[in-house]
C-alpha cells in the first residue's frame, strides 16, 4: 500500500488570516497568532520537548536551581540533626519563616488549578495556552510548600502521628486541630492537582509518543500515554471527566486556602483571630498565584518563542486579575483596621498600633507599597500591555505577599496579650537558606518540566483553530 510520508516542512503551509476565516474578535489581541494550523502548533510545541539539542540557557538555569536544591538538602540535614532551634523562633514567636514560607508557597500554588478549573468552567478559552504551565507551577509550589509543615515540627520523625492509622498506643489524631485540616486539605489538593494535570497531559503524551523518533523515548511517553489513540468515545468521556474534575477542583481550591487561613483565624491571637480571613486569604492566593504565573510566563514565552501562543491578550488579562484580586486584598487590610476600631478591644487596637508603629512598621509599610500601590498600575493599558511593567508589578506582588504573611505571623505573635512575654523575631541564616533552597527546588522542577513535557496543551490549542469547528448536517442545516 502506498504510504507517502508527510514530510511537508512547517514553513510551507502558512495560509493568510482570511483563509483561516478567523473571527473578528480575535484580530486585535488573538489568543493564538494567525498563520497556524494543527501541524504547526503540534510541531512547534512538541519540538521544544523533542528536539535533540538542549539550549545552553536551560542548562545554566537548571544548574543554578540545583544549587538551591543542594542548599536545601544541607539545611534540612542540619535541621533534623540539630533541632528547630537553628531558626529564629522563640517564645513567644513559635512560628517564623517556616510557616510564612508554607503559606506563601501554598498561595502561589493556587493559580494553576484556578486557571484550569474556574476559567474552564467560565469558558475562558484564553486560559488554554497557560493552564498547563500554571498547573505544573501549582504542583511544584505545593511540593515546596509541603516541605515546611513536615519539617517545622520539633520531632519530624513522628510526623506520621498526624495520619489516622490503628496503632499500638490506641491513639488517634485530634481532628479539632486546624493542622489536621491542613494535612487533609493540602494532601488532597496536591493529589487532585496532580491528577488534573496528568489527565490534561494524556493526549499530548500520545502526541509526543508519535512525534518522538527514538524508540525508547516513544516507549516512555507511550507508557504514560496509556495507549491513547484519540478515539471519539474516549474523547467524549475524557472531556466529561475533565469537566467534572474542574467542577471538583473549584471548591477544593477555595477550601485549601480557607483552611490554611483557619490555622490563624481559629487561634485567638490578636491579628489572627478574624472571621474574614478565608476570603481574604483566597483572594491573596489568587493574587500571588497570578503574579507568579506572570513572573514565569513572561521570560518563558520570550525564551521559547511562544509569543504566538501566549499572546499579549493573556498577559493583559492576568494583569486585570492582579488588579482585581489586589483590590480585594487591600480591602481586607482596611477591614482589619475597621474591625480593630469597631471592636474597641484593646488587644486588637494595640495590635494594629504595633503593626503600623511598632518594631516591624517598615515591613508593614513595604507590604502596603507592594500589594497596595504597585498593582494600581494595572489600571492603565500601557502598563498592562508592557511585559516589562507586568513583570515588575508581579515581582512586587511576590515580595508583598511574603511580607503579608510575615506581618500576620511573627508580627502578631511577638506582642500578644501579656506584655511580660513580648519578644522579637529575626530569621537566621538557616531560615533563609531553607527559603532559598525551596525556591531552588521549585525552579529545578520547573526546568525539568519544560524540557520533558509540553508546557502548552497541544490538543487544546488545536481546538482553538477554526478548522476544529465541524458540524453534523442537522446543525449545518440551520
Amino acid at each position: 500500500m502506498a504510504t507517502p510520508k508527510d514530510t511537508t516542512p512547517v514553513q510551507e503551509i502558512r495560509p493568510t488570516t482570511q483563509e483561516l476565516r478567523i473571527p473578528e474578535r480575535f484580530i486585535p489581541t488573538p489568543t493564538i497568532e494567525p498563520g497556524h494550523n494543527f501541524a504547526t502548533i503540534t510541531d512547534h510545541i512538541s519540538s521544544i520537548v523533542l528536539r535533540r539539542k538542549t539550549p545552553v540557557g536551560w542548562f545554566i538555569g537548571l544548574l543554578i536551581a540545583m544549587g538551591g536544591v543542594g542548599l536545601l538538602s544541607v539545611s534540612i540535614s542540619y535541621l533534623v540533626g540539630k533541632g528547630v532551634g537553628i531558626w529564629g523562633i522563640n517564645h513567644p514567636v513559635g512560628w517564623g519563616m517556616d510557616i510564612i514560607n508554607f503559606v506563601w508557597w501554598i498561595g502561589i500554588g493556587h493559580a494553576g488549578t484556578l486557571i484550569s478549573a474556574i476559567l474552564l468552567l467560565l469558558r475562558q478559552d484564553w486560559r488554554t495556552s497557560i493552564n498547563r504551565f500554571a498547573e505544573a507551577m501549582t504542583l511544584f509550589a505545593v511540593a515546596s510548600a509541603g516541605l515546611y509543615p513536615a519539617l517545622h515540627t520539633g520531632r519530624p520523625w513522628y510526623d506520621y502521628w498526624l495520619f489516622p492509622y490503628p496503632n499500638t498506643m490506641g491513639l488517634w489524631p485530634q481532628f479539632r486541630s486546624p493542622l489536621m485540616w491542613d494535612v487533609f486539605a493540602v494532601s488532597t489538593y496536591a493529589t487532585v492537582s496532580l491528577l488534573f494535570w496528568y489527565v490534561g497531559l494524556i493526549p499530548d503524551l500520545a502526541t509526543l509518543r508519535d512525534r518522538a523518533r527514538n524508540l525508547w523515548i516513544k516507549r516512555v511517553y507511550g507508557m504514560f500515554a496509556m495507549g491513547w489513540r484519540g478515539s471519539a468515545r474516549h474523547w467524549h468521556r475524557y472531556e466529561h471527566a475533565y469537566l467534572l474534575l474542574a467542577g471538583l477542583s473549584t471548591p477544593l481550591v477555595l477550601s485549601v486556602h480557607t483552611i490554611v487561613s483557619f490555622d490563624f483565624a481559629v487561634a485567638q491571637i490578636p491579628g489572627w483571630h478574624a472571621t474574614f480571613f478565608p476570603p481574604y486569604f483566597v483572594a491573596g492566593a489568587v493574587f500571588a498565584g497570578f503574579a507568579m504565573v506572570l513572573t514565569l510566563a513572561i521570560p518563558a514565552r520570550k525564551f521559547f518563542r511562544l509569543e504566538d501562543f501566549i499572546t499579549m491578550k493573556h498577559l493583559e488579562n492576568m494583569g486585570k486579575i492582579l488588579l482585581a484580586t489586589g483590590l480585594i486584598v487591600v480591602y481586607a487590610y482596611a477591614m482589619e483596621w475597621f474591625y480593630g476600631w469597631y471592636s474597641g478591644n484593646p488587644f486588637e487596637i494595640y495590635m494594629l498600633k504595633n503593626r503600623s508603629t511598632g518594631p516591624y512598621m517598615s515591613m508593614y509599610a513595604a507590604l502596603w507599597i507592594c500589594n497596595g500601590l504597585a498593582p494600581q498600575l494595572m489600571w492603565f493599558k500601557r502598563f498592562r500591555t508592557s511585559t516589562f511593567w507586568l513583570f515588575v508589578v508581579a515581582m512586587f506582588v511576590n515580595v508583598g505577599m511574603w511580607l503579608e504573611r510575615f506581618v500576620i505571623i511573627p508580627a502578631s505573635l511577638h506582642r500578644d496579650f501579656l506584655p511580660s512575654s513580648w519578644g522579637m523575631y529575626h530569621g537566621t541564616f538557616w531560615d533563609w537558606s531553607m527559603f532559598i533552597g525551596s525556591i531552588g527546588l521549585f525552579f529545578a522542577l520547573l526546568f525539568l518540566f519544560v524540557r520533558i513535557l509540553p508546557m502548552i496543551s497541544i490538543f487544546e490549542m488545536r481546538t482553538l483553530l477554526p478548522e476544529a469547528q465541524a458540524h453534523t448536517e442537522e446543525e449545518g442545516a440551520h
Binding site: 491513639l171 488517634w172 508519535d210 507511550g222 496509556m226 467534572l244 478548522e467 465541524a470
Partner: protein
Amino acid sequence: MGGIGKPIEGLYGVIGEFGDAQSLLDAATAAREQGYRDVDAFSPFPIHGLAEAVGFRKSHLSTIVLTMGLIGGLGGYFMQWYANVVAYPLNIGGKPYNSWPAWIPITFECAILLAAFGAVFGMLALNGLPMPYHPVFNVPRFDQASRDKFFLVIQARDPKFQLDEVRDFFDRLNPREIVDVPW
C-alpha cells in the same frame, strides 16, 4: 481474505484517513447511515458530535463520581467521629467529644478526594485504558492521528462488514487513503 458475511481472520477492520475534522464527521455519519455499527473515529482533538455519530450513547461517569464523593464524605466524617468519640474520647479544651463543626473541613476534603479518584480512574476504566497495544497502531500513518489527520475505522466484527463493500464505501468518501488494519 475471507468469504462473505463472516469476520476475516487477522483483520481488525478497514480504516480511512481524512484531511480535516468536517470530512471525518461526515464520513462517520455516512457510515452510520450505511448501517455500520462497530465504527470508531480518531482525531487529534475532541470533535463535537463525533462520538454520537459513531453511535456513542451515554457516559456513566457522573454516577461513579457522585457515589465516590458520598463514600468519601461519609467515610471522612465517620473516621473523625470514631477516633474522637468512640476510640479515645478526651476532654479537649472543654469541647464536647462530638465537636461536629470542627469536622466539616476534613469531611469535605475526603469527599472531593474520592470523587476526583472516581472521575479519573472511572474515565480510564470506561475507556479501557491503559491499552498500549491496539490494532489501529498498525496503520502506518496513524501517528498523524495525534497531529493533524483524522481516521475512521469500520471493524471487521461488524455484522454488515463486507471487505469489498467497506472499501467501496470509503472510496466514495475519497479519503487520503484506505488501509486494511490487521490484528
